[in-house]
């Protein structure tokens, strides 16, 4: 038998989206953001003098910016499975687990996986075939009350806890 688990949770943004004061707030927020962008642009083009050195401030060189080679999804578009590196990682159980543990376990606690991301990871673990999948209902809906993962919706691949957003559903038993 295959069931799915659905958490009964409304998002904060969903509760606010139809209020007039919310629209006014959004307009004000947009104006503030535009102002910040213009200010930053001016600072980059016309850098302020550096008081310590007596010269001009220098924008951080692009080479010092850490760029993730595998782009993380910004919405629920899921992972870009056309990325050649990601394809190689996802086709190898050892690399897949090392990638999950390094990028999508504790480091995603404040940005848990979306429905699409969670399902992609679940399906890849199934496809690889020799991985342990645990979609225990108590863990997935965040109803556990004991231990460090208490209250955090999660599932597990090869004994790696993976946090998910409230409301994410995955097949149980896997």
């Amino acid at each position: 038998m295959t069931d799915t688990i659905q958490a009964d949770v409304k998002t904060e943004s969903g509760n606010q989206s139809n209020k007039p004061s919310g629209r006014l707030g959004a307009i004000i927020a947009s104006l503030v953001i535009v102002g910040i962008v213009i200010s930053v642009t001016v600072l980059i083009v016309f850098p302020a003098a550096d008081e310590d050195s007596g010269g001009f401030g220098t924008p951080t060189p692009p080479s010092s910016i850490v760029v993730a080679s595998i782009p993380s999804p910004t919405s629920d578009s899921g992972f870009d499975l056309t990325n050649p590196q990601l394809q190689l990682i996802w086709n190898n159980p050892r690399l897949f687990e090392a990638w999950l543990k390094g990028n999508h376990s504790l480091s995603r606690l404040s940005n848990p996986l979306s429905q699409q991301e969670a399902m992609q990871i679940y399906q890849n673990a199934k496809k690889l075939g020799n991985m342990t999948i645990d979609t225990n209902p108590t863990g997935l809906v965040g109803k556990e009350v004991t231990a460090q993962w208490a209250g955090v919706p999660h599932f597990k691949i090869n004994s790696v806890h993976i946090p998910v957003q409230k409301g994410v559903t995955l097949p149980y038993p896997p």
């Binding site: 993730a68 595998i70 086709n91 990638w99 231990a147 090869n158 004994s159």
Partner: protein, 204 residues
């Protein structure tokens, strides 16, 4: 079936960060091990599809070297290359490489066996033991002691078992571990299907 791993105790060395959780010196402290970190791997690197090594993904530097040493000297636990090193000299070498970048780590000797085995392990009783932990055999090394008795503990587990914890947040004797894990799985439903391993940990 776990017959394959029932025939031996795995022994080796762990590198564990200091001061992750107060009054806990067990394995559930994110032991150092090779990971694929998206922010640090070489964006242009395309490996041979059959190559499962992790260190080859990194540009030259301390992490690539530490991961290479680790992967060439790690011990298999639970059919996976995990966080345990076979060589004390290599463990010391890796510790020296990573500490300037990741902070202080401690070197711990360990022996590991599956909880379901009836194994009399070969602990050196003369060694300065930290005690026994019981945790996953890999993955994120989730410890049933840390998670049942120390971090958001269950009140019934606390009442029944906290007196068995030693000063390091571990059991000093392994005899109570099977009963503890049965109780832990009853009271922590999200871990009901998890497989646990026993870790005997000792100072170097």
């Amino acid at each position: 079936m776990t017959n394959q791993i029932q025939s031996k105790v795995v022994a080796g060395y762990l590198l564990l960060p200091l001061n992750k959780v107060e009054k806990y010196r067990g394995i559930d402290r994110q032991p150092f091990e090779p990971l694929l970190l998206e922010s640090e791997i070489d964006p242009a690197f395309v490996p041979n599809p059959d190559d499962a090594r992790i260190w080859v993904w990194y540009p030259a530097g301390w992490r690539r070297e530490a991961y290479r040493l680790f992967e060439e000297n790690s011990v298999e636990v639970n059919k996976n290359k995990g966080a345990i090193l076979s060589s004390l000299a290599t463990a010391r070498q890796i510790k020296d490489l990573i500490e300037p970048h990741l902070g202080s780590y401690e070197l711990i000797a360990c022996q590991v066996w599956n909880l379901d085995t009836q194994f009399a392990h070969e602990a050196d009783l003369e060694a300065p033991s930290l005690g026994y932990d019981v945790a996953y055999g890999g993955g994120d090394f989730y410890s049933a002691l840390k998670n049942g008795l120390l971090v958001k503990p269950h009140p019934l587990l606390l009442a029944e078992y906290s007196s068995l914890l030693n000063e390091y947040g571990l059991f000093s004797n392994p005899d109570n571990i099977p009963a503890y894990i049965r109780r832990f799985k009853e009271l922590v439903p999200s871990e009901a299907n998890s497989e646990f391993w026993v870790y005997w940990l000792s100072y170097i």
